[in-house]
């Protein structure tokens, strides 16, 4: 036990003295910049809110309240009143609670859309980068086709083809990211394929599979991670856009910012805050992810190493 802990301590010492890894170094440089810290704070608060919102929401976001419904007419939606901070929405639900819980749904859509995009993109890019040759050509022409369609148009086409549900939105938005991730990973893998350490591993007779998964992939994944952070921001916006266009979730009751914004568009003259607050929330969160992603990208760029 004591031997183990000494060894661990030694290891920490040597880490402290013997330079830092690229990732640690980049992380440190990232959080020296105030922009990055702002991004991290926004993202952090958003994630915390998404996790705890069901517990701190003052009212049930999925149930109409009689006291709100009593005053609800087509031309009048109740504003703030005791117990209901932001008043009612168009269906007599507590708007404030829905706004809070909306963080969770929005994060859910954003994260899963990005994860699926990363996963599919990495499979395509990984295959192309690992095999090269005609596999590469076919897969890359495929991503070229996807890239040639404007991203929102692509998402709209996919969403229009599938039945309206939350997963439709997620898949449609994920497809926007797929060609980007595929390209990124493929490029990085190709650079790795001609690198010295891959040549050295080949000269040692290491199996192809091991070379791809142990030597090429881990060295290629950095740009993909950064891009994923940036994509989270656009994924949230794209999901909102789909909902706004009525191509999203068919369940109008779900508390999700994009959906709330979309449903509020006819009521702008009646109660503008129904559109205003979800829109502001989306903008702030997207900004947070973008700031964080951009500063990560900058600090991982070897040209900026100090």
């Amino acid at each position: 036990m004591s031997i183990l802990s000494t060894r661990k301590a030694e290891k920490i010492d040597s880490l402290a003295e013997g330079g830092t890894s690229l990732a640690m170094d980049a992380l440190r440089r990232t959080f020296r910049s105030p922009v990055a810290i702002l991004g991290l704070v926004i993202v952090g608060l958003f994630v915390i809110l998404a996790i705890i919102s069901p517990f701190i929401a003052p009212k049930d976001p999925y149930r109409p309240y009689p006291e709100l419904k009593a005053e609800l007419t087509p031309s009048n939606i109740p504003g703030p009143m005791p117990g209901f901070l932001l008043g009612s929405d168009q269906n007599g639900y507590d708007f404030f609670s829905r706004l809070l819980v909306g963080a969770q749904q929005t994060l859910f859509v954003g994260v899963f859309a990005t994860l699926i995009g990363v996963a599919v993109g990495m499979i395509i890019g990984g295959l192309a980068g690992a095999f090269g040759g005609w596999v590469d050509s076919v897969l890359m022409r495929l991503t070229d086709i996807m890239l040639s369609i404007p991203s929102l148009l692509l998402a709209i086409s996919i969403a229009a083809l599938l039945p309206g549900s939350q997963w439709t939105v997620i898949i449609a938005v994920a497809m926007i990211g797929v060609p980007v991730f595929a390209r990124l990973l493929r490029g990085a893998m190709i650079a790795q394929r001609s690198s010295d350490h891959v040549l050295a591993a080949t000269a040692l007779g290491v199996k192809r599979k091991t070379i791809v998964f142990r030597h090429m992939l881990p060295n290629s994944i950095g740009p993909v991670i950064v891009q994923a952070t940036l994509t989270l921001a656009t994924a949230i916006i794209d999901a909102a856009a789909l909902s706004f266009l009525g191509l999203g979730d068919s369940d109008w009751r779900r508390a999700e910012w994009g959906l709330m914004l979309g449903n509020a568009q006819e009521l702008l003259s009646v109660k503008p805050s129904l559109a205003f607050f979800p829109a502001i929330a989306i903008i702030i969160v997207a900004l947070g992810f973008t700031l964080l992603g951009e500063s990560m990208r900058e600090s991982l760029d070897p040209k900026n190493r100090r």
């Binding site: 330079g19 040549l199 000269a203 040692l204 060295n219």
Partner: protein, 331 residues
Amino acid sequence: MALLDVRDLSVVFKRKGTRPFTAVDGVSFSVEPGQTVGLVGESGSGKSVTSLAIMGLLPKRGAEIGGSVTFSDTELLTLSDKQLRDRRGRDLGMVFQDPLSSLNPVITIGLQITEVLERHRGMTRKEARVEAAELLDRVGLPDPQRRIDEYPHQLSGGMRQRVLIAIALACRPKLLIADEPTTALDVTIQAQILSLLSELVSETDTALIMITHDLGVVAGLCDDVNVMYGGRIVERAQRHDLFERSRHPYTHGLLQSIPRLNAPRGEPLTPIRGSVSDNIEWEQGCAFAPRCPNATDVCWSEPPELKADDGRMLRCHNPVAIGDAVTEGAL
């Protein structure tokens, strides 16, 4: 029976739209078990391409390889990719020039050694780890038990090269190819690495092909030396013969361009004129003729053959006269 027999090896790089480029042109040499053979030449002389061709590491498309490479009775050039992978690392090892970029930066050096041991010697992860620590100890890495869990960037250049040597020798290959293993290192470390290499190969009776542009390295290490120019071997001799009586004007020039400690003060070095040209033509004459002080008309019109001469192999119409040698006490 030689361990490695290279016969008439040629490598031609072909690309659409450009003229084919002959990087290696009819190179033949052999390596006996336990012997150390040097391949010497400037950049662009084809020495690295020769080694990559032996290892089967040249890209399949774009490089046309001719001749034969026989390694203990097996023809390497016709082996399938999989058969070659089974041999590389086990029978043939290789150490590259740049020790930092030749190690994978994201995994520990321990894993990079055990990977080879597991692959070729069928060891379990645990056995391989013990063996890896022993190997690191043997190549003189201080505190191997701790270093084994470190990443390449935590080691100095010399230590990294030691690690690469440990990896290359992990499966006790019969032949090790060292491609300029000391070029990226400090001079003091160079000497250490070279003596380590020579110690290890003589200990394990491993044959070594030393690829270098540094005649000092050759002087300290090699039994036989092949001097390459423009993709062909221009002179082959035993180490002592080569250094005492270099006959080819190119070898002669290389030796004269080395600074000597016992040279008279202020004596200028004699560099070889010009530089290696990209399209070296052996078809019409001697490729070295444009840079050769001894060149005569015959050198421009008739390509010289590699012929036995004075106990060595020589490809020259006008070799340096025997009495005219440079190098007493040169190195």
